[in-house]
Symmetry: C2
Subunit: 318 residues, 2 copies
């Protein structure tokens, strides 16, 4: 009997072929001895989310593609769905809220999506998107709790192992868990000995607590600069997969993440958002136990100019 994990691993191979004409095969850049950075901040729309969005829209039913794709998001997933839809000739709607950064709303429209505003809660956004999908036969593109989305994010692992087959340890940000589950499943299906370590903000440590206590836990209050990782609770499926395939989850304070953002920008010429720089912060402060070569995934690079300035002025050099 095929497990969910096997299904996702198989779908990753299909996703890789579907993504081939569209995705940027982002570079694996040396950081320091034995450590490489997978620069998904250089992916289309500035984050790994493009992979899941493109594969999901490409594999909608003909009826759904004809009708429209719909998503709910306050950030990177919104932009990814908008551009992927434009590239595939599928109309898109994204449910956002006034709390989303104005640049992200503007970019989502610029990439071609119709933006609808909902009340400022993830529940309200999700409910409205699901309701419109059901009423009109739209194809719903979930942000992370989804087999296809996880499979597509797993293509990052295929690229890392193709370039650097001897990698021993992968270091991945944890938000909704789709990225780390997809990467860990794909990586271990090729190379079972690999260790996959998650990194989560100390102020949004629901996944860490769930992982350590082996009981799915919700955090009511989230305090972190890592907006892409501001998730209160893993979905049940993602939690189950993470328990199977993730070797550890470590916590990082925002101050260290901000130092890493500065180091990546000034010394490595890479603009990386907090949610992506958190993996480098964990490495720079000795929080990752594992063998080299290691690869840290820089998941995205969408930051408002004012936030870039804040990072440069407030973060002390590590």
């Amino acid at each position: 009997m095929s497990t969910l994990r096997d299904q996702i691993a198989q779908l990753t191979t299909e996703a890789n072929a579907v993504l081939d004409p569209a995705v940027i095969r982002t570079p694996l850049l040396p950081y320091r001895d034995g450590i490489f950075l997978k620069a998904e901040n250089l992916q289309r729309t500035g984050s790994f989310k493009f992979r899941g969005a493109y594969y999901s829209i490409a594999t909608l039913t003909p009826q759904q593609r004809e009708a429209r794709a719909i998503a709910y998001s306050t950030g990177n997933h919104a932009q990814a769905v908008a551009l992927a839809g434009s590239m595939l000739g599928v109309k898109t709607t994204v449910v956002m809220s006034e709390s989303a950064p104005p640049e992200k709303i503007a970019n989502t429209k610029r990439f071609g999506a119709t933006v609808i505003m909902a009340e400022n809660s993830s529940f309200a956004r999700k409910q409205l998107a699901e309701q419109l999908a059901a009423e009109h036969g739209y194809g719903l593109i979930p942000p992370y709790e989804d087999v296809k989305v996880m499979a597509a994010q797993g293509t990052i692992a295929l690229e890392i192992l193709a370039t650097q087959p001897d990698v021993q340890t992968m270091i991945i940000p944890v938000g909704g868990g789709g990225l780390i589950a997809g990467i860990a499943i794909a990586a271990k299906s090729i190379k079972p000995s690999i260790r996959v370590i998650g990194v989560e903000p100390a102020g949004a440590a629901d996944a860490h607590q769930s992982y350590v206590s082996k009981a799915l836990t919700k955090w009511d209050t989230i305090t972190t600069i890592c907006d892409g990782l501001s998730v209160q609770q893993l979905g049940a499926t993602n939690f189950d997969l993470i328990q199977q395939v993730v070797d550890d989850i470590v916590l990082v304070d925002d101050a260290l993440t901000q130092q890493a953002m500065r180091t990546l920008l000034v010394d490595h010429r890479l603009l990386v958002e907090a949610s992506g720089a958190i993996t480098v912060a964990a490495l720079d402060h000795g929080l990752i136990k594992g063998n080299q070569p290691m690869v840290a995934v820089l998941s995205g690079g969408n930051i408002a100019p004012s936030k870039i300035i804040e990072t440069l002025t407030s973060a002390a050099r590590a």
Copy 2:
């Protein structure tokens, strides 16, 4: 009889093999339809200068390698020589001046070079380096007026054509002329139909004036934010080669370059210094006549944090 141009083209093949274990094969990233960016800002030490420095040090005589490599520079060449020497186990000295940015002096030391200060003139720096080389048998690593250095910079063209064989137009910054001459010679040796267009700051337009008037011209006063292109006059050899292999040189005002720096950082997550962003500025303002696909070379990304902030606050969105 083999011409200088043929010699450089042949050396580029050798340089490519010598560089293989050390260089970052920098990514070719989509910018917009039909236009790609060669991200040499992600090269080791943050600029293409690493290529010429590494190849030159690697091919010094055994006696010179045993003694020391010496260079003169106020910027990217200094850091490149320092790191290349460390990687090759060759001691390095770089002659700099107090006018160099403190970060670049600090980085040059951090990468392992001994830094000697000379009077603040390119003549004084060059003279001191040549004198020390002659006295002690050191290997001199010139910044751009050199066959090996040009051949090594030409490896950028090999990488572009390997990834994107149908490229029709290459757009290259012009400072001392070593980068554009090396790239144009290598590219045209493989694909003679390719067009190579130089871009120079309007406030440092000696190469443009020389090229148009067909007479080597010196500019006494240079006014530009593109510190890497602040060269008063091409060397005679580089000028001769540029007349043979470059199809046009266009001029760009600094204000447009600063807009391009902002666009590259905020919308493309790439930190690019003014001397590298000038190619994108020329493209964005319709100054490049040529067929697509086009590739613009982003030559480097070394900028002080204060300059990044200045770019974000002063440049209006293009």
